[in-house]
Symmetry: C2
Subunit: 317 residues, 2 copies
């Protein structure tokens, strides 16, 4: 952790630095998987749609359930092998969102969405990467019960890491969508935008899906041009982050803006404008005079902005 005057130590980027060994060699071994599930230390995360179910006692929240405890909550649709934490097996237990609804009345459970868990720090940060892994996979199963090649119902195999079609024999793998998220930078300024979905005071980095047939760098230039009308030159990769809402891989970049005039695509974003490093410092530190904010440290946008505040155009070096 490095200190920065006024901004304090660098917080962790959410959902990263997993301590789990995915032990992918066990996935196609049904006997090994059954043994892991029967391990007395086996435990996992319960996810149904956007909701994560956790144990709650007074102030204490625990996101881990044994396989038996999970089954006692209701029907487990998929049991997914997430990997090993040391020697301890970790699983994801997928629920129908409808089966989660009645659990909300129970006062021994805390049920909320993963963004809230991450932003409010309801569980230790070590739980966030396997929760992201579980949520992305369980969401994929929920939306991919049928074969896109022939329309037949598919079957879960390989510990939840593959779905096979019994009709046309196609093997289907979990989907991860690469998304570019970037700051276009010119001198002491960068472009932030606002989605209509954002809280009224929040501004963030522009972002968009990487499309078939383009590089990360081309996607960055296209998205900034489409959304804000700014032409970009050099693009420099910063960091990446899994973003399981529902299945993105955020690829953070800084880009060299070659023009000044912003032309907003109102079908994509609500607003966009230039911010200088002084104003961004106020926003990161939550002391902006008009109350404007950046996304919280759990999101890569926060770190993209902070690195520009700390290093300026050097982020493009």
């Amino acid at each position: 952790m490095t200190e920065h005057p006024g901004l304090g130590p660098h917080p962790e980027l959410g959902y990263t630095a997993s301590l789990i060994d995915r032990a992918a060699d066990r996935r196609d071994n049904d006997a090994a998987l059954a043994k892991l599930l029967q391990d007395a230390r086996a435990a996992g995360y319960v996810v149904g749609g956007e909701m994560v179910v956790m144990k709650a006692r007074d102030e204490d929240v625990n996101p881990l359930f044994s396989p038996a405890e999970a089954a006692a909550l209701g029907p487990v649709r998929e049991t997914i092998f997430l990997g090993l934490l040391g020697d301890t097996p970790r699983f994801g237990f997928g629920f129908d969102p409808k089966a989660v609804e009645p659990l909300k009345a129970r006062n021994d459970l805390k049920i909320t969405d993963l963004r809230t868990i991450a932003v409010q720090g309801l569980v230790g940060t070590d739980h966030l990467p396997p929760l992201a892994e579980a949520k992305a996979l369980i969401g994929w199963h929920a939306r991919h019960r049928f074969c896109p090649n022939c329309g037949a119902a598919t079957q879960v195999v390989h510990g939840g890491w593959r779905r096979d079609c019994p009709a046309c024999r196609t093997e289907h793998f979990p989907r991860t969508d690469p998304v570019v998220i970037m700051l276009a930078i010119r001198g002491d300024h960068c472009v932030l935008g606002r989605s209509p979905r954002f809280a009224a005071t929040m501004w963030s980095a522009l972002a968009g899906f990487c499309e078939p047939g383009e590089t990360i760098e081309e996607a960055v230039r296209r998205e900034v041009l489409e959304e804000a009308g700014i032409k970009c030159g050099r693009v420099r990769y910063f960091r990446s982050q899994p973003w399981p809402f529902p299945s993105s891989l955020m690829i953070g970049c800084h880009a060299e803006a070659l023009s000044n005039d912003i032309v907003i695509d109102r079908t994509e974003i609500e607003d966009a404008r230039w911010f200088d490093r002084a104003e961004l410092t106020q926003m990161l530190g939550r002391r902006h005079p008009a109350g404007l904010t950046t996304p919280p440290p759990v999101a890569i946008a926060h770190h993209l902005i902070r690195s520009f505040v700390e290093d300026g155009c050097q982020v493009l070096a």
Copy 2:
């Protein structure tokens, strides 16, 4: 282009540096799309499965067909708006692979796969990015005619950039799979591996799909550990490349190897070993005493290896 003693100028990375403006704002405008298709200059690429159909006259190969010429070849399953080259509309025309078969007998056509086109330089390099765009999208349509959410047949909308389900109303977007491809480096050496699919003399960078819930950096470390048993520390992003076989985004990285002993996962790769920069220079220059080679310059692996040969551990700086 920078020269390097013995290796000549840097070749271009295949399928990158697209000259096409995707003009995504036209995709949801049926009237605008119809007008673009009727433009006298409109032309596009004909793809069926792995095959690309091109016009051939003597030595001259031309990959572009007018919409009428494409329709004269057989039934066009999907017409995809790729974008504008200057003012000129570009399309992808998707064919059933079975409809391409009988065309192979015609001597006014050249029909081969996109890898061969790229490696042999059958068309100008400017055609490779839109061919990658067309092939990835046409392949996606071929494998996604049904709704993975409910199994109903879906319909092409938005100029080929979306498929909608009339039954459950889910909107489906083209899939792009992020793949990490990397060199694990220690001092003057790096690890290359061999897939059983490779030509007998070829060695390349290790690679694997980025999974749900992990960063690019975590995927790099996991894949090198899984395939070669080498633990890695620092990871540095290099470049990216669309790889439409069928729908990958190659994310090239250099990684700092922290151990020496290679343990090969024979279910994933056939072999792996350390290569020093002198041997890699021979392979890149096609003058290795045993005839070993790297992948050709069209592939990002070539450039990952060459940058290590030219800059050594500096690629991790």
